[in-house]
């Protein structure tokens, strides 16, 4: 094999990141050199992965790469493999793009910090860890990569250790993250004890149909372990803490990349290793955990008054969408879930970078102190609004396309299976989307609009390098929203088909005849077009404007005129004239919050911030998962 041949590209893509991590700390005294090194390694990694797209995504090829040429003999995997199918490449591309943009943003964002070369080292370690995780074809390697990325993420959370709560957040993340890692390792070794292999392909061949109590326990351990990495519901407070303290580019990585690695692990677990998605109970598990994450986190977000903490809860809420869609176990469901995963990386990245720009210029992310920044930072505001519209699912941005597909998939599943529960899921998803919109109206109102506090009179626009990074994400938001058919065809559908065709994954690694496991080739793409919905939105906007204008020029009869003086009773334009008052972070939806006050105060007390409580939740989740897996599998 020629060393330039494409089979080597996956390992090169991982290697350049780790190599960059070492070189940055060796040669990174000069700020130009270290930025150039970091940018060079992430762009090289991105380029290598993009070069694989035609073969793996469009050609449907699966690259099985055995390290050191030690492959397999007699149908048994001997070596350590990297196995790249469309699913791996899909996640790898997400990672590479997010890492590239975050690195671009870091150059100016981290300018005033100490030890920036160590920052880049950890940054590249984190990137390499996630990339290694999604490209690996070996369960133990996945564990090692999980540890590398957890370690780097914890260190980066505490990087600005003078920020309030940074150390505390890092410690909590480390404790619960370690519990998750121990679960993954124990699960891995339980599987090894039963099957004597660590290769994902071999395990996918041996495990289904041969379950005993030990492998059932392993399922529960691995599920909880990857759930910790995705910050699914009992683990969501850690995400909020970590995001609040970490520098903005790291928030992009934690929300856009780390959570995806957890989702990737769960997909590999249920669709490949155990192949138990045809069990109703497992679909139930995924959909319920997903819907809970969706709803709990969006309501937690409504109660926040810190910009980044609020975004963090929304991040997990959107991950809930992804898990729910993946749990539907239809091609459309998986495809729409992956589409939403991609969009989540893009719009969440944009929002976190906008929050970082606000922090960089004003020095605070407290919603009660900010206000009126649109006057001082018009470009950042515009970019933020694109992200906010995307996450709330407003056409023509990408969030609309994927959320629409998810509703459609859930509804279709409800019709097909005749199960009323899936309709309920659709409703939860819609309500969550509405609450998301509400909370982003609150954020835009209290950060970018309203009155500008005096202390922010001299605030400047974010520097060019940071705006450029945000611009890339904003462009992707619009592009993936306007061309959904192209995205589905080139990216998400091949990945969804890879998920459904497990047999091909096994055959590619082991070189055996394709085992007789279900192969699905059906092409199902949702029937919808964002342009139509944009037109509909435009028409309704136009009619509202028209009615409002008519109301303004309403003819006033003589005797009513006196009453209406001052325009107090005008249609649509009436109301008391009042002096401007700043609406603080918490009180835009005070009526809603008042009605739900018992729920909110209960949730507030539950998220106590004591690390023992979070560990207890982890233990509880583990116990439930073990009982569940022993009963239903």
């Amino acid at each position: 094999m020629n060393w330039l041949s494409y089979q080597h590209f996956p390992i090169y893509a991982i290697m350049v990141l780790f190599l960059g991590a070492f070189l940055v700390v060796l040669l990174g005294k000069n700020r130009v050199v270290r930025a150039a090194l970091a940018l060079l390694s992430v762009s090289a990694s991105l380029a290598l992965l993009v070069a694989l797209v035609p073969r793996v995504m469009l050609g449907g090829e699966i690259i099985a790469y055995w390290m050191g040429g030690r492959g397999m003999s007699g149908g048994y995997a001997m070596g350590i493999a990297l196995e790249v199918d469309a699913l791996s490449l899909f996640f790898a591309l997400l990672v590479a793009v997010a890492v590239f943009v975050a690195c671009l943003y870091s150059i100016q964002y981290m300018e005033h910090d100490d030890n920036v070369s160590q920052y880049y080292t950890l940054f590249l370690l984190l990137a390499g860890g996630v990339l290694g995780l999604v490209l690996s074809g070996d369960l133990f390697n996945m564990f090692v990569m999980v540890e590398i990325l957890t370690f780097a993420a914890v260190a980066l959370t505490a990087f600005r250790n003078t920020v309030t709560g940074a150390l505390e957040a890092a410690f909590k993340y480390l404790v619960v993250g370690s519990i998750g890692s121990v679960c993954i390792l124990a699960g891995t070794i339980m599987l090894y004890a039963q099957t004597h292999t660590l290769s994902l392909a071999q395990l996918s061949l041996l495990l289904p149909g041969n379950l005993n109590n030990a492998t059932k326990l392993a399922f529960a351990l691995l599920f909880v372990g990857f759930g910790t990495k995705a910050f699914l519901v009992p683990f969501h407070p850690l995400a909020a803490d970590a995001h609040g303290a970490a520098p903005a580019p790291i928030s992009v990585l934690i929300s856009g990349v780390l959570t995806k690695s957890g989702i990737y692990g769960i997909i590999r677990l249920v669709y490949f290793l155990f192949q138990n998605m045809d069990l109703g109970a497992i679909r139930f598990l995924l959909v319920v955990v997903g819907s809970l994450s969706m709803f709990v986190c969006v309501t937690m977000a409504l109660a926040q008054h810190d910009f980044k903490r609020l975004l963090a809860f929304h991040s997990i809420s959107q991950i809930g969408y992804v898990l729910t869609a993946v749990g539907l176990a239809t091609t459309l469901g998986v495809s729409s879930g992956l589409y939403h995963a991609m969009n989540h990386t893009i719009f969440k990245g944009l929002l976190f970078l906008a929050a970082g720009a606000v922090l960089h210029e004003t020095g605070t992310t407290d919603l009660n102190q900010l206000g009126g920044l649109a006057k001082r930072m018009p470009r950042t505001t515009a970019l933020f609004l694109i992200g906010a519209a995307s996450i709330s699912g407003i056409p023509p941005f990408n969030g609309f396309a994927s959320k629409w597909l998810i509703y459609q998939a859930a509804y279709q599943k409800a019709v097909e299976s005749g199960h009323i529960g899936y309709l309920l899921v659709t409703i939860v998803a819609l309500v969550t989307s509405t609450l998301t919109l509400a909370s982003f109206i609150k954020v835009s109102q209290s950060v970018f609009f309203g009155r500008l506090p005096e202390r922010f009179e001299k605030v400047k626009e974010a520097p060019f390098g940071m705006r450029l990074a945000m611009g890339v994400f904003a462009l992707l938001c619009v592009a993936t929203g306007l061309l959904p058919q192209a995205v589905v065809k080139t990216l998400t559908l091949p990945a969804a088909q890879a998920v459904e065709n497990v047999g091909r994954y096994i055959a590619a690694a082991l070189g055996t005849e394709m085992p007789a496991i279900r192969t699905v080739t059906a092409v199902e793409i949702g029937v919808w077009n964002p342009i139509n919905w944009l037109l509909l939105l435009g028409v309704s906007l136009l009619s509202v404007t028209l009615v409002a204008l008519l109301g303004k020029y309403d003819r006033v009869s003589e005797n009513e005129g006196a009453v209406r003086a001052g325009g107090k009773y005008d249609l649509f334009f009436g109301g008391e004239k009042s002096v401007h008052s700043q609406v603080g972070g918490g009180d835009l939806f005070w009526g809603f919050k008042h009605n739900w006050r018992h729920y909110f105060s209960f949730m507030h007390d539950l998220h106590s911030g004591v690390v023992n409580d979070y560990a207890l939740w982890a233990a509880l989740a583990l116990a439930l998962a073990i009982v569940f897996s022993q009963i239903v599998l």
Partner: protein, 116 residues
């Protein structure tokens, strides 16, 4: 005899988790995490153990179909896992030290500025 190892391994894991959940001292939390790691390491080594097997060190000429040795892969896995848990312990101790400097306490119930 090997059954005792398995029982001990899971007992250690449960004990570690219990420590993390119930103890309010940050250092004890770190100790609890380490105990969990020891439990898993014991589990891994026990999985590879065959009673009566020799050490898995052979050259290709010495290797016969009838040679009987313990499974070398779990031992390699244990080494990796030990290195990783040492790193995690070092990192968490460093964090505990910095937390003590900033908060002036080791009690988890007082290290809760981020909540709600």
């Amino acid at each position: 005899m090997i059954l005792m190892n398995y029982i001990c391994a899971f007992f250690l894991m449960a004990l570690g988790l219990y420590t993390v959940v119930t103890k309010h001292n940050l250092l004890k939390t770190v100790i609890g995490l380490s105990i969990m790691d020891y439990g898993v390491n014991l589990l891994i080594v026990s999985v590879g153990f065959h009673p009566g097997g020799t050490a898995p060190i052979f050259s290709f000429t010495e290797l016969h179909p009838e040679s009987f040795f313990v499974d070398p892969i779990p031992q390699a896995l244990t080494l990796t896992s030990i290195v990783i848990s040492a790193c995690v312990t070092a990192m968490s101790l460093a964090l505990v030290m910095k937390i003590y400097e900033q908060y002036g306490t080791m009690d988890t119930r007082e290290v809760r500025r981020l909540r709600g």
